[in-house]
Amino acid sequence: AEPIRLGAFLAVTGKGAFLGDPEKKTLETYVEKISGEGGVLGRKVELIVYDTGSEAKEALTFVKRLIEQDKVDAIIGGTSTGETMAVIREVEAAAVPFISLAGAAEIVEPVKKWVFKTPHTDRLAVEKLFTDMKARGLTKIGILSGPGGFDKSCRTNAMALAPAKGLTIVADETHGAGDTDMTPQLTRIKGAPGLQAFLYCGFGAPTSIVAKNVRQIGLGVPHYQTHGSASMSFIQGAEGAAEGVRLPAAALLVVDQLPADHPQKAVATAYRDAYTERYKEPISTFGGHAYDGLFIVLEAIKRAGGTDKAKVRDEIEKTNRFIGADGIFTMSPTDHLGLDTASFVMVEVKDGTWLLLN
């Protein structure tokens, strides 16, 4: 039978490679595996991946290519919000089921007929963080954010959410692309009146640099980062300076510490094992987004009994208690994400690894 054709466009290289690379690897691992086990509905699954090089402007052309040239049945991707937003008009016009792997809430708010997403929104992450801060009695926050879309969106959400949560942002600094030293900004934050906690919004190498700089100048307040830092390379890169840093992350990150009865335990363990076996490197939670996207689509195809796009779309929307790496998804016509904060956990770096908090 005709294979099921899945298309993906991801930031495999460039500044988002840190996210896109594990996403691609995850998709490849599972598509290979599923096809090897006989496929879906007796049809093999074929995956076509294009690398946007982390440039949003490349995304549209690749999506057109996936739709027009490769005639895919569904599209997964858009590692970043920019890449995703750039293709929404095209996807809607062409009526192809599309699952984004990017963070911003605006991707699914307002709901767009063909557009879904799997990662927790940045707002969820910030909410989680703020709740933790609040619980520890930290209300005066200094923020440092990077230059990327993810970084900016985290910052914007933090600014917007803080008043509602009863927090004040006492310092708001940014750093540039490729910066190798953030001590001036941190020095300013340190000098902010009444500072009680520090939050860094960003991902990639700067996460570790910030941790080192924080130790260097002795910032002396609890240090928070976001799920953008949820990978072992953050801890290793910081060379000990990551100790005590707290961040919100998908439960996948601390799969071994999950209680045996945790609903995601089995799925997450299986994913972790499959990935590390294939690529001999530690998992990051980003690959988990791709895992969820892939299986939500495949499950929908199974339920639809074929690749009719409209039917598949409807079935995606009916996703109910799908247990994924990111959490448990229940979508609806008004919710094309279907995750809640409960699927986020707080972790802290302890002895060079992640420690699940309560």
Binding site: T183, A205, Q216, E239
Partner: protein, 291 residues
């Protein structure tokens, strides 16, 4: 002097020294060929990634650093031999595009061999900050500064006081005449790339503990290094240093006192203003063109 100011200054000088080291590489290749080598940032990246890779593979620290730098020199010479030399008579812009191609190629190769993640290199003398006047300085910053100073003096001597340095300049200004003086211009070109790669490599292993290493670490460093070299006056080793420090310090001061969101923009505004006032950069001197 307030502790904050000192902290900004330390940061600015350290960053500036990094830019200066990269800028020096631009100046050296320019001095031998009038070419702007846009792969200079990649030299920094290669050395860092190679050294870290070796350290992770269990190689002794110093040996890994040396090997990283050596590999960079090999890449530099290869770049000259296989990409610049065959295009000897091409225009300067063509040669610049070739170096852009090379930088893409090298980044691609680094990703294939070293992966797309980031990794850190242990600092040479630990991570315990040194506190001076309330401001904290990492020992690695002192390494960067110290080595930069040594290199400035060595290069200054090389270009001003040795025939080899002058031969290099002659090759740049007029390769035909240089040959007529008995200068082996091919060798000089190779040497200049080797030297620039050596500097890039040294910069790479020195900066790596501060910047971490990843395949695109050289992009921004290369750009800022280019700014440093131009701002100081292309081809002037002292200029690259001055330019690097000016860029680094103005970034840090802007971030510290004005706006961290616009710190890079302010740095570029400063560069523009300086160039409008001194069209040949800080140390560039007057034009020597006559009609």
């Amino acid at each position: 002097m307030s502790a904050d100011f000192l902290q900004f200054l330390f940061s600015g000088i350290t960053q500036g020294a990094c830019y200066a080291l990269v800028g020096l590489g631009f100046s050296i290749i320019y001095n031998a060929s009038q070419v702007i080598n846009f792969a200079q940032g990649e030299f920094v990246m290669i050395a860092g990634m190679a050294a870290v890779g070796l350290i992770d593979a269990g190689a002794p620290f110093v040996l890994a650093l040396a090997a990283g730098v050596a590999l960079t020199v090999v890449v530099g010479v290869a770049l000259e031999k296989f990409a610049i030399e065959p295009a000897r008579n091409a225009s300067v812009v063509t040669l610049i595009i070739i170096t852009i191609g090379a930088s893409i190629f090298l980044r691609g190769a680094a990703e294939l061999l070293g992966g797309r993640g980031f990794r850190s290199m242990p600092a040479f003398s630990g991570n315990e900050p040194i506190v001076i006047g309330g401001a904290a300085l990492l020992p690695q910053s002192l390494w960067v500064l110290g080595v930069t100073v040594v290199i400035i003096f060595a290069l200054g001597r090389f270009f001003n006081a040795t025939m080899h340095g002058k031969a290099m300049l002659a090759t740049a200004y007029n390769p035909v005449m240089a040959q007529l003086m008995g200068i082996n211009t091919r060798l000089v070109l190779s040497l200049s790339f080797a030297l620039a790669a050596l500097l890039g490599g040294i910069a790479g292993v020195l900066i790596a503990p501060l910047s971490l290493t990843y395949s695109t670490v050289g992009v921004m460093l290369g750009l800022k290094g280019f700014c440093a070299a131009i701002l100081g006056g292309l081809g002037k080793p002292m200029g690259a240093i001055a330019g690097g420090l000016l860029v680094g310090v103005s970034e840090a001061m802007t971030a510290g006192y004005l706006s961290s969101a616009y710190k890079d923009a302010v740095a570029f505004v400063i560069i523009l203003v300086v160039l409008v006032v001194l069209p040949g950069g800080l140390f560039g001197g007057r034009s020597v063109e006559r009609v």
